[in-house]
Assembly symmetry: C2
Homo-oligomer: 95 residues x 2
DNA sequence: TTGACATGCAAGTCGCAGCTTGCTTATCTC
DNA sequence: GAGATAAGCAAGCTGCGACTTGCATGTCAA
């Protein structure tokens, strides 16, 4: 339903990826705090949770349950495939 | 208003980039035809025009007027910056 | 077991992106 | 100039995505 491009379209989700790429294995609560601190994101816990679900669906975030907490990891692999779709940088057309 | 990630979120806009990266300097009408042929995109001329405006705003498409036609070029440079935001592939965390 | 903590689920609301419709502008040909 | 072609503009409609609200589930500590 949701593809990786749509997942990246939301600013909050990009901030989440920022935080997860800086510090892996964060819980939902930890992430909410860091989003507020670093990016001024005031989203509620549920909102962040839904964003994480989207990111997990498209493979940008991997998760692991530990007791009553859920840890989240960033996975940049899907980005490579997504952006390899078009030529980057040099396309000696008119330059 | 619109950033590059939001610009990439729409499937039709991605098809437009596909076509423009395959064949540069296309007009709006030419593009509409190719979108229909190659991707089954049935969007109207106005819809495609609006998509092109978005792509031009974020720098993924460059244009040049020639008389009563307007030619469009794909520019992949903004993709590079968008990519560099997160680590791709190897991030020696837990591997 | 009880209470507190961390997360999940589901329905409802609201705003905006994408599309259409109709008209207008600009350029070329005759 | 008149007509045809290519594109631009603006207002209105509609569906979907992001958020909230309320409650349910599951886990740990006492």
């Amino acid at each position: 339903m949701t593809d990786i491009y749509q997942a990246l379209a939301d600013p909050t989700r990009r901030f989440i990826l920022d935080e997860l790429s800086k510090r892996e294995g964060q819980t939902l609560f930890e992430l909410c705090g860091r989003l507020a601190m670093a990016h001024g994101v005031t989203s509620s816990r549920q909102a962040v949770s839904q964003h994480l679900a989207v990111l997990e669906t498209v493979g940008l975030v991997r998760t692991e349950r530990q007791g009553r907490t859920k840890l989240h990891w960033f996975d940049g692999a899907p980005l490579q495939a997504a952006l390899a779709r078009w030529p980057i940088g040099e396309n000696g057309g008119d330059a």
